[in-house]
Structure formats: C-alpha cells, structure tokens
C-alpha cells in the first residue's frame, strides 16, 4: 500500500498497457474468489490479463462504450455491491470481483416500421414493465450512472421523450436487468424507446434534410472527383494549407475566405 497523496497521483489507468510504472506496487485482488497480486495502476481488465486471463468474449472496445465487460465487485468489509466496466475501472486493494459478460433478458420482437409511436406500444411489448417495484437496484447497478428507475418510471407514465433522454448513456451491458426485482429487461425496453423516439418523435433537423438533398443532387460530386484525381503530395499540400476555423472562435461567426465550396 502507498500513502494517500502518492496513491492519488497514480490512481489512473495508464492506457492499454500492462507495463508497470516505476515504483508501482502490487495489490491483492480476488477474481472469482481466487487471490492475485496485480499492479495497482491497472484497470480490472488489464489486471486480469496481467495474471493470465484471456478475454475471448466479454471484451470489446476497451474504451468504455461497448458495454461488453461489466464487472461486479465488492470491497473487503463493505456490504455494498459495486459495478463498473472492466476496461475503465481501476483495481483497488482487496476487491472481490467477477465478470458478467452477458445476462439473459427478454427482448421483444417488433418491426420498427410498423410500430405506433405511443407508450402503449411499448407497454404491450414489455408488459413486465409493470412489475417494477421501484427498488432502484437498477440505478445502483448502472456503471454509466444512468437513472434507470427514472426512465422506467417515465415509460410507465407514457413520457417517451423523457425516457429516451434519460437512457441515452446506456451501453446495454445488462447490469440493471441482473439486479431487477421485477425481472425487467430495462436496457432492451430503453432501446425500443429510443428507437421510437428517434424514428417518429424527435424533431427533425432541417439543415440535415437540406444537406442530404444537396448531396443526392450531386452538388459535391465535382469536388470529390477533383480530390480523388489528386496525387498524394497535392492532397498533403491542400491539407496543410487549408483554411481552419480558429479554436476559440464564436460558434457560427467564422467564415472561410474561399466560399466556392459552401
């Protein structure tokens, strides 16, 4: 163990490498009940690989986005359950952990093209929604700090927009479902909610429609053809000499001098 100030300095995952920083100490962690000594700066995933585990499944992007590597752990002497992504969570001394790469959850079959964009459609596909007891274990289990109970409540209350916004950070790891008293598949329900919101309810961006029209009408074809015809040196020169928006310029104020491509 190191003292507090020292620990603060090094309690950062040092990238995707298991090379020990100079002076780094090892700490004991328990993986599925077995004790291992691992360098204290590593993420759970790197620490497990350090001691010889090989991830064939249950590891994806290694960047905290894909939701493939949820870990559940406890700390010595603490009754609470903690949840994290193995690729993001740094090991702590005496943590007891296991990976839960998959958790079975009911996923409804539907055709998004045919669905009526109302809360009742969601209710009919996932009637178990109404078995929620508001225990809030889902929220406590979320490694992404999503307010799961709040979005489930919003769906029950028929507020699709609120539910879609509240669940935006969900990475579909399934930890909510693993802890659910009412046996709900929260993350699948939320995905359906966001699909309905995105397809039918979210306000359309007018500029996007305009831009798609411009692209399909061939406005940019000539520019792209010109670029495709250039050699490597020409492209490099163009890139280096390109006009750039200054980093701190006010949004919407800057205009390039050469406006022929706008």
């Amino acid at each position: 163990m190191c003292d507090a100030s020292e620990k603060q300095n090094i309690k950062v995952a040092t990238g995707d490498r298991a090379i020990l920083p100079e002076g780094a100490k090892t700490i004991p962690v328990y993986v599925m009940g077995k004790k291992y000594e691992v360098p204290e700066t590593l993420t759970i995933m790197k620490a497990m690989e350090f001691v010889g585990f090989k991830f064939i499944r249950g590891a994806g992007c290694r960047g905290g986005i894909c939701g493939a590597c949820p870990t559940v752990y406890r700390k010595a002497g603490d009754y609470k359950l903690y949840f994290g992504l193995a690729c993001q969570t740094v090991v702590e001394p005496d943590m007891f952990l296991t990976q839960i790469p998959f958790y079975p959850a009911n996923r409804a079959q539907y055709n998004i093209e045919e669905i009526e964009p109302v809360a009742e459609s969601i209710h009919a596909l996932y009637p178990e929604l109404f078995r929620c007891v508001s225990c809030n274990n889902c929220t406590k289990a979320c490694p992404m700090d999503v307010e799961v109970l709040d979005y489930i409540s919003a769906i029950k209350q028929g507020d699709i927009e609120r539910a879609a916004n509240l669940s935006k950070d969900c990475i579909q790891c399934g930890m909510c479902a693993s802890r659910c008293m009412g046996e709900l598949p929260q993350y699948h329900i939320a995905q359906l909610v966001r699909r309905i919101y995105g397809k039918y309810l979210q306000p359309r961006a007018e500029h996007l429609v305009k831009r798609v029209e411009e692209i399909t009408s061939g406005k940019y074809d000539k520019m792209l053809d010109d670029l495709m015809a250039m050699d490597k040196e020409g492209l490099e020169k163009l890139y280096v000499e390109r006009e750039r928006e200054p980093d701190m310029s006010e949004p919407g104020r800057w205009m390039p001098e050469d406006t022929q491509y706008l």
């Binding site: 007891v133 508001s134 109970l149 709040d150 028929g158 008293m181």
Partner: protein
Amino acid sequence: MKIIYYPGCTLKTKAKNLGDTAVAAMSRLGIELEELKRWNCCGAVYSLADDDLIHQVAPVRVLVRAMEQGGGKLVTLCSMCYNTLARANLIMKNDEEKRNTINSFMDEEKDYNGEIEVVHLLSYLKDEVGWDALKEKVTVPLEGLNIAPYYGCTLQRPREVGIEAPGSFQLMTELLEAAGAEAVPIAEADLCCGSYQIIGNPEAAGNNSAKIVSAADKAGADALSMSCPLCEYNIGKKQGGLPTFYFTQLLALALGVSPEECHFELNHQSSFELLKSKGIVKL
C-alpha cells in the same frame, strides 16, 4: 398558493381527464397543484404480507421525493395512489422496526420518518377551501344533473386511512352539491368494481361493475362520479350503460374550465352527450 401534487402513472395518459382537470380546477380556486419533479409508480396496491417490505419501497420513495421538494402536505387524486401512499406513510410513522429496515435498504435516499401528510383532494377541498367558498366560485352550476357519488374501496378502507368512515359518502356528495348538481345516494357506492381482477378474473369483475351501474340507474342517477382510474375503466369503459365522470371533471366544468380542457373525449361518449342534453355544455 402551492401544494405538492402526486399524479400517478395513469393520470399522465389514459386518465388525463382526472389529472389535468384537477390542476385546472384548482387553479381556478387560486391553488397551484405543483407536480412532484421526480416520481415513480406508487405500486397501486398496498402490500398486505407482514414481512413484505420491498413492496413498500415504491410509495416510500414517493414520500421521500415529496420531502425533498419541501415537505408538508402531498395531494393525490387517484384513490389507489392515495391508499397506497397513506398506508405506507403509516408504517413509516408508527412502526419503528419496519421504518428502520426500509430506510436502511434505501441507503441512497434520505431517511424518512413519516414527515409528509398524504391528503386526498376531496379532503383538501373541504378542509382548505370549504364548500361555501367553492360555491362562490361556481360559474357553470351543474343544474339538472343527477350524479351518484361512487367511492369504491380505497377511499374509505381500511379505516385508518379512509377519507371518511365506511358507509359515509359526504365529501363527494357535498362537492357535487356545491357544484350545483343533485347527488343521488346509492348503497353500492363502496362496492368494489372488481379492481385488478379485470385482468385476473374479468368475468367476476364485470359482475360487480354491472351491479353498481344498475343500482345507480335504478336510483335515478344520470351518471356516476368517481376518483379512481381503475373504477372508471371497469365501470365506465368495460361495463358501460351509464355515463361516468371523474369528480374533478365536474368540478372543473362548474368552475368555468372549458369543456375541451376537461378531456371528455377520454370518457365514454355518452358522458359528453349527457352534458349536452342537460344544456351544461353548449355547442
């Protein structure tokens, strides 16, 4: 004046005619029903098993939210929400052991010790507004409308949370009279509509609803007035035969809220027809 308000899930969708009309009516009385900013389903039915505390967590969490939003009184309209919240509140007030267990389970929330007072809108209207004051604000008296007050189960039972004693239907009667309607008493005013058995045993539930409708019809009522979206579904939508209103719709109408805002489109068609035939709403 503001008071914290818990709508309940159904009042945000199928029973907007209960929730929205209450908000509109109360604003005519100078009282703002301020919806809880964050709330969850109350659980609809109170859990009766002595060791089953997990099902008390939902209503208690609502009470915690009310405390976070300033505390004091929490007004509800839906009879089932009222019943569940009020009974869970009694546990938190009176049963130290259960209170401690629930509070320690909800370790992410503030401890709750029964600080909130759960009030049904009917009680609130009587105690905080008063029938005479209400009468003065009536601009569209519901003259010629014969309404049977229907309470169902959860406004009165069990006694410890009843808004009045079992068998007494004074609050809604007085409200209807203040609104200018004629209250038609029926003995079946507290007969269960069948409740959740509409999905467990729809036939049995239907029998009950039929009894209630027929009693009101025989007594000469034009319609039933109620406070619960499940009663309204069982008696109004599934059973039919007699128009049904939420008491808040009738109150709103009498206070001059426009018929459009009263969401009669969510009632059975006959309900709006009745109001037209009595000349209370004009087209």
